[in-house]
Every structure is written in C-alpha cells, then in structure tokens.
C-alpha cells in the first residue's frame, strides 16, 4: 500500500526536516514553496511608516510518496524535526496513492519508490535494481 505525505512546515525548518528524513533513509521527496495560514494568523512586517500585517505566510510543503510500512516512522521524524511548540508549526496530511510508475525503468508500486540505501534497503526489505 502506497501513501503520500504532504507536510506543511515552517520555512526555517526545511533543512532540519530534510536532515531528519535523510537520517531515517527517506530518499525521494520534493518541496513546494506555498503561502497560507492556520491558527498562527499572520505576521507583522515593517512598512514605510509603521508596521502592517501579512496573513498569507510563506510555508514549505514537503511531498513524499512511500510504502505504508514506513509511514509512522516518517511522521515521527517530521513531527520531531519541525517542532518549535509555537503556533505555525504546520500540519501533516496523509493520502492513499493508487499507483506509482518510474518512467525510466517502468517499475510500478513499491518497487518504484525504493532507492539504494533507503529505509527499506537498510532493513533488508525488497529488491532495489542496481543502476
């Protein structure tokens, strides 16, 4: 079973989260630069004279497609590395993924989201084709 994680995190936490994911062996990911807000509301910026509020804040959305068996460990890694305790730490959404196809090799499903040295390889699961 494949899942998609969409983690909305602070801009300034993106490197911490990337490092934490690399640590546990999550290799494939991409990020979006997005804007939005939740409970945090907005932030105050300096203007020409005095300050003004901006309510659509820059955030980073991290996208990961992974096997369900690695889901919980990944969520824990993101929660730990993206945490500050203040409003604005973000949210993680998890969706089911119907199919994944690696274009180069035509691998499908779990095979298509495995990489040499990744979380599955470290645990001796699955076969990763040498490239």
């Amino acid at each position: 079973m494949l899942k998609k994680i969409e983690a909305i995190i602070r801009e300034d936490k993106v490197n911490d989260v990337k490092d934490a994911l690399a640590e546990i062996g999550i290799v494939g990911l991409n990020i979006f630069e997005i804007r939005g807000h939740g409970r945090q509301g907005g932030i105050k910026l300096s203007g020409r004279a005095g300050t003004y509020m901006v309510d659509m804040l820059p955030k980073i959305q991290v996208n990961i497609i992974l096997s369900e068996r690695n889901l919980e460990e990944t969520i824990q890694a993101i929660c730990k590395s993206a945490y500050t305790g203040e409003p604005g730490d973000g949210l993680i959404f998890v969706y089911p993924v119907e199919e994944v196809i690696r274009i180069r090799t035509r691998e499908r499903g779990q095979d298509a989201v495995m990489y040499p040295g990744d979380i599955d390889a470290r645990k001796g699961r699955g076969h990763v084709k040498e490239t």
């Binding site: 300096s46 203007g47 020409r48 004279a49 005095g50 300050t51 309510d55």
Partner: protein
C-alpha cells in the same frame, strides 16, 4: 559663454534625465507584481510625452515673453530662437538651448512623481490625457510664476532653487487631489498590498540620490561654489533624513529598508528649494525635520484610509512645503549673493514670501488637478474596470507580463 559651465550643465541634464527611470524603479518595486510594468510605464512615458510637449510649446509657456506675470508667450514655440547663444534672462554663460534642455528634464520628472497616487487602477488613456493637461495647465504656468522672467512670484522675490514649489509641492498636492477623485484600489485596507520587490525601490532611491546632484547642483547653472554648496546641502539633508527615518521606523518595530530609502528621498525633496541658499548645517536641520513630517503624514493618511498609494503627498508635498518655508528661515547671502537672507538672519519678509508661495502652489495645483481629474472621471472615466484591476494592469492595459 563659459565652457566649464556648459560642460557641467550638459552632465546635469543627463543626471536629471536618469531620475525618471530611477523613479520608475522606486515606484515599481512598491506595487504588486501584476502592476510592475504599468507602474514603470507611468513614469517612463514622460520622457517621450514631455520630450515632445516641451519642444512644441511647453518651454515657451514657461519661459517665453511674459504675459501679465502669469504665463509665457509662444515666441519660443518649437524652440524657435532657442539656440546656441546665451540668453540674457536665463543663461548668461551657457547656450540658451542647454538651459531649455535642462529645464525639460524637470518638466519630465514632475508629472511622473504624481503617478504614485493612482498606480494599480488608472486607465492608461485617461492618464495620458490628464498628464498632458497637467503639464500645460499646472506645470508650465507655475514654472513661469516662479522661474520665468516677469513671473509674479519671481518678481516678489521667492527663493526656490531647484523646484520645491514647481516640482515637489505641485506634484505632491496634485497627487492628493487625484487620489481623492479616483478613490482607493480594490480591496484597499482589507487585503495587505505588499510591495513586490523592495530591491527595485532601494536601487531606484540610490539612483535618485545620484541624479539629484544634477537636479540641485545643476540648478546653479554654473560650475561654481553655489553648485558645490547645493551638492553638499543635498547630500547632507538626504543623509540626515535617512538616519532619522531609520530611527522612527526602528521605534515602531524594526529599521525598515523601505523606510530608510523613503527617508533619503524625503530629505532630497525637502532640501531642493533651499539647496543653493543655505549652509550644509542648515540642510541637516531641514532633513531632520522633514523625516518626521513625512513619516507622520503617512501614518495620518493611513489612518484616514486614504489610498494615495505611494505617498507622493507625504514624501514630496509635505517635505518640500517644509523645505520651502525653511528656505525663508535659513537662507543666507553668505552662501549665494543672488539669494537673500532668511528670518534667522533678520529678514522676516523672506519667510512671508516663502509662505505665500507654498500656499499659492498648494491651492493652485490641488484645485486645477481636482477639477481636471473630475472632468475626466465624468467624461471618459479614470479607472479600469474591476476585473481589469483584479487581473492587473500589466496584462489588462499593456498586454505584457513583467515576470514570465
């Protein structure tokens, strides 16, 4: 004829011309990304529009043979008789045509200043028509009153070295009038209208400062001590106002780069009428006082929910009103023997003349602009449609995108 003077005014022409694209960048950075090209064009187009108007009849209305102290005649239309020889009234040591070219650069940038009032919503064709009318009905007469031989304010003895009244007060209060007529941008006060690229604005402010050396020091119309004094007072006022503005914005939060750049321009606008008549130390006072005047005018405008979008009134109108009054306080013949002493050197009459010039300029420019803008609003309309405004003027008015 003096070749040193001629060389310096040729250079000054180029410096002042550069201020119009600099202003375009200064304004362009402060609007939203969908209106950058539109905002740049509102400034840029004046190099073309006034570049033609000035040669055809603008220069003549401002500097032609006086008619009743109010306007110049058409004897210089088409630059007829404006040639390489010096002119007794305006340019004893440089070609008359060079004086006319230097003055053209002022006529180009002044209406460009006003555009900050109505960016992101003005209809382009109405803007063009307004600008031509404004140059003809406000700038050219006012220029004649203050600088033209026989102009009534000049005869009264008003001191305006480089355009405090003609350029900055006129532009600032015209901007206020136009903003009142056209009304706020869609969503003003509800959605934040974040400047899309402050880098452009800071670059523009820097280039304006450089260009202002031509604007003020060039206004000596000679490569002499008065020119150097004007350069120094210009620099000192900009420096002081930049520092004071930085402190004011720091007290309200953090030292804002947009604020610092704004403060510098405010210092430049304030010292413009005074630059050739006061000492550098007086310029320091002028800059230091100008910054809070403009800063709190901006806060006031913001509280009143008035969308004079890029604060032309606060930055140019108010700062230069102060600068023109301050000329009547600090002016000294020790700096410029062609000038006069101010109130602090025992000549209260000069302060009175300066105050009169400020009031007259405000009333004249505000009223004419208000009437012209209202007439255009009633006839062909001033604004784009709400959907065009939402899409952004880059696409809806000009069919181009700034960032693809």
């Amino acid at each position: 004829m003096n070749s040193g003077d001629t060389a310096w005014i040729l250079v000054s022409c180029a410096l002042v011309l550069m201020m119009t694209p600099a202003l375009a960048l200064f304004y362009g950075g402060m609007v939203r990304r969908k209106n950058v090209l539109s905002t740049l064009t509102l400034s840029y187009i004046f190099m073309a529009l006034i570049g033609v108007q000035w040669v055809l009849y603008g220069y003549s209305l401002a500097f032609g043979t006086d008619i009743g102290g109010l306007i110049g005649g058409l004897n210089f239309a088409g630059f007829n008789g404006v040639g390489a020889l010096p002119n007794e009234d305006y340019s004893k040591t440089i070609p008359h045509s060079l004086f006319a070219a230097f003055q053209m650069m002022f006529a180009v940038i002044t209406p460009a200043l006003i555009t900050g009032a109505f960016v992101e919503r003005v209809q382009y064709k109405s803007f063009l028509l307004f600008s031509l009318l404004w140059a003809t009905l406000v700038y050219d007469p006012l220029c004649h009153w203050v600088w033209g031989q026989g102009g009534w304010l000049k005869q009264m003895g008003v001191l305006d070295f480089a355009g405090g009244t003609v350029v900055h007060i006129a532009a600032g209060f015209s901007a206020l009038a136009f903003a009142l007529v056209i009304g706020p941008r869609k969503g003003f006060g509800k959605a934040p209208m974040e400047p899309h690229n402050i880098t452009l604005t800071v670059l523009g402010a820097g280039l304006l400062w450089v260009g202002w050396f031509g604007f003020n020091a060039g206004s000596a119309l000679a490569a002499n001590g008065v020119a150097v004094n004007a350069l120094l007072t210009t620099n000192t006022s900009a420096a002081t106002a930049g520092l004071v503005w930085m402190l004011l914005s720091w007290l309200d939060g953090r030292p804002s780069p947009l604020g610092i750049a704004t403060g510098m321009v405010v210092g430049l606008a304030a010292v413009t009428p005074a630059s050739g008549f006061v000492t550098p130390l007086a310029a320091m006072v002028i800059g230091a006082v100008a910054a809070p005047i403009s800063y709190y005018t901006m806060r006031f405008r913001d509280r009143r929910k008035l969308d004079e979008s890029l604060d032309v009134w606060a930055c140019h109108g108010m700062a230069s009103s102060w600068g023109t009054l301050a000329t009547g306080l600090f002016a000294t013949v020790a700096v410029n023997s062609d000038g006069a002493n101010g109130l602090f050197l025992g000549n209260p009459k000069q302060f009175g003349i300066q105050a009169l010039a400020v009031v007259v300029t405000i009333i004249f420019s505000f009223t004419v602009t208000y009437v012209v803008a209202k007439l255009l609003d009633w006839s062909i309309g001033l604004r784009v449609t709400p959907i065009e405004e939402e899409v952004g003027l880059d696409i809806s008015s000009h069919g181009e995108r700034s960032y693809s």
